[in-house]
């Protein structure tokens, strides 16, 4: 490398400009505003271009990070995005929602000094610029193979399988239960973190490359896995996510005004209820809102409630701040917007008014004991510390489980004891020949990029299967 001087000492990590908290409380527009080219170049110049870059090990789809960062530094922005596209079809999404602090940036050597390269921000910059300037992915496509693959579920796992198989010359059809493709990217993650236009554009470009998308098709009901084979599909990938909401199972939970985060966020995002009555689906607008749970989903729910005009929004969590599973940046954003944290607190029952609407919640204080199986200190209720809080809307965001709709209707599909599909972690193969699975339906709720990584591995294995010599399409069925 030419410059041996330690550029990292010259300037700190370049932060991304954001909408002011007071302003963004009032709208659903994106909070971080993106780098200018100058900012991106400056941030990229800090990268040490490590010979064996540890950052890449932290990226489940193995983007050549030093290479694309170097191209940004050289202001070759269109080449930078092409470098990213080699490994990742959804960079505008990942740059925004990947938990970089535990993935790529968590491994960056500069992290030791507390200033890892802002890889996510740079990835987002390159992707947004490409979108603005209409740069398209024109990577050469393989000859048509004549093979057809059915993909069930249009979340990040399914979309990745589709993109990878299209590039290898196979025909793909995606079957999606909802009326819009994108999975959690459209129904769960709010507009202010991931504009839906970005997801729609990515899906459109996949369609341009030849993917067929069949919405409103519930596999297991409208059509079964066996019937897909009968229709001549040579392989099937199942990426149906982990969309079964969990409840607390405490008294009063069915009062009006108590919703799962899935319901609340689906109303807001997929059905655009935040624009009611312009859109037809209503959403409860609470004055005093409580969100139970402390992951990304809880933060998204709380920040949605702020934007829908709540006076107070409180996160109730039974452990302490250190154990909160949400990304630090999201907790920070939520607090900036006025969300309060009620930590070491657990709900014990909900209180209703005479019309059956939620009016309050009885809670108990907790203290932390010995570490449990997850390695986190176990919360223990403090006797006699019960207290009540007033609330008129409660959102339950304590996690999701495996939705049994497809798995229950598919004979011979092996599940683990939590109802997730048993699949080979390297290939995604399931107990049924010709059926692969990946993403949240295999691992339980994880991340966008992990679902994409699983999709990539499955696509590779499906491709090998389809091109293996001496195989006729018929022999792949069940």
């Amino acid at each position: 490398m030419a410059e041996k001087e330690d550029v990292t000492e010259k300037w700190a990590r370049i932060g991304m400009p954001e909408q002011e908290p007071d302003k963004r409380r009032e709208n659903f527009e994106e909070v971080p505003l993106g780098y200018t080219p100058e900012m991106a170049v400056k941030e990229a110049s800090r990268c040490l271009q490590c010979k064996s870059p540890s950052c890449v090990e932290g990226c489940p789809v193995e983007i050549d990070i030093p290479a694309f960062v170097q191209l940004i530094k050289e202001e070759k922005f269109d080449e930078a995005i092409k470098k990213i596209w080699e490994k990742n079809r959804l960079p505008a999404v990942c740059g925004r929602v990947c938990p970089q602090e535990t993935q790529c940036e968590g491994r960056c050597v500069l992290g030791k000094k507390g200033r890892p390269i802002a890889i996510g921000n740079l990835e987002r910059f390159a992707a947004d610029l490409a979108r603005r300037e209409g740069i398209e992915d024109v990577s050469p496509k393989a000859e048509p193979s004549g093979k057809r693959v059915a993909i069930v579920g249009s979340g990040p796992a399914g979309l990745t399988v589709a993109a990878d198989l299209l590039a290898r010359g196979h025909q793909v059809t995606i079957f999606e239960a909802l009326h819009k493709p994108g999975g959690v990217l459209v129904y769960g993650i709010p507009e202010f973190r991931l504009p839906k236009k970005i997801v729609a554009d990515e899906i459109e470009s996949l369609e341009k490359q030849g993917a067929e998308i069949m919405c409103n098709t519930v596999v297991g009901r409208t059509i079964t896995i066996d019937e897909l084979f009968d229709q001549g599909y040579d392989a099937i990938f199942v990426g149906v996510g982990a969309g079964l909401p969990r409840f607390m199972n405490i008294p009063g939970e069915n009062l009006v005004g108590i919703l799962s985060a899935n319901e609340y966020l689906t109303r807001a995002n997929l059905m655009k209820a935040y624009r009611f009555p312009e859109y037809d689906t209503p959403i409860p607008r609470g004055r005093n809102v409580v969100v139970i749970g402390a992951g990304n989903v809880a933060m998204d729910s709380a920040r949605t409630a702020v934007r829908l005009g709540a006076e107070t929004v409180r996160i109730v969590y039974r452990r302490s701040r250190e154990e909160m599973p949400a990304r630090a940046a999201e907790i920070h954003h939520a607090e900036e917007e006025g969300v309060e944290l009620l930590l070491l607190t657990s709900p014990i029952r909900f209180l209703g008014d005479e019309e059956g609407r939620v009016a309050g919640m009885e809670c108990i204080k907790m203290e932390l004991g010995e570490p449990d199986a997850s390695g986190r200190r176990r919360p223990i209720p403090i006797e006699g510390s019960e207290f009540e809080i007033v609330c008129d809307l409660v959102i339950i965001a304590i996690g999701t489980g495996a939705n049994p709709l497809l798995t229950r209707s598919t004979e011979g599909l092996e599940l683990n004891r939590w109802g997730y599909i048993e699949a080979d972690p390297e290939t995604g193969e399931t107990s049924i020949e010709g059926v692969w699975a990946g993403g949240d339906i295999v691992t339980g709720s994880a991340t966008v990029i992990e679902a994409m990584g699983a999709g990539r591995r499955a696509a590779r294995s499906i491709h090998e299967h389809l091109t293996r010599e001496g195989r006729s399409p018929e022999s792949c069925g069940v």
């Binding site: 129904y187 059509i223 069915n254 009006v256 689906t266 009555p277 037809d280 689906t281 939705n403 049994p404």
Partner: protein, 268 residues
Amino acid sequence: MASGNVILNEIEAPLIAKKAKPGQFVILKAGERGERIPLTMAEADPERGTITVIYKVVGKSTELFKNLREGDSYQDAVGPLGQPTHLERVGNVTCVGGGTGVAVLYPITRGLKGAGNRVISIIGARTADRIILEEEMKSVSDELFVCTDDGSRGHHGFVTEILKKVLEEETLNLAVAVGPVLMMKLVSEMTRPYDVKTIVSLNPIMIDGTGMCGGCRVLVDGENKFACVDGPEFDGHKVDFDQLIQRLGAYESEERESSMAHRCRLDR
């Protein structure tokens, strides 16, 4: 076909028509900004590739549906959803329907008759011109009683009054009730002392219809069930109807606002 604010639509949906069984429903959405609305399939014709829904116009979305003209299309239709009715030969069956619930009851009744049961049907409505599917119900029942609240047709009074007589006179093996929640509750309470198994079809507010949101949860035998996946039919003796009534009213003020906004736009 049906009169006033009860509408019948035949919808082209070959994939759904091929799979539909009595008791199952579809979710329809009129346009880009529309709500997802669950409606039971009154009929499905796999040959023609069509399904038929019968619904009452009660608010903004059903109003939008009503204004679709022949050849127009729903933007989205998904199904078949829910568990099909368990159709078997049990002997004497009564099928009780109120209001538009009869649209949901009809395919179930037809199925039960087809399975070889003796079927006594009781249908009711507020007034004569609100009675729907009378001919159809007659054709699949051994006996049909019609009731109206105002006496303008058939028995002057509620369906439960006829049911009481039937319970006293016959040995029933199964009762099916579909209609307003209060009616289903009363029917279930009446059959309980006679120990007649009673199936009700519940209509909680739904969004996705695939078990993803939990909005359709109903308390059955002290346990939460998702009506869209586990139901919509449940054992009436185990359902917490009072809770269902409360939950159905969750969006009353918003629904009024939505209808008002819709009408204002139409007026302009």
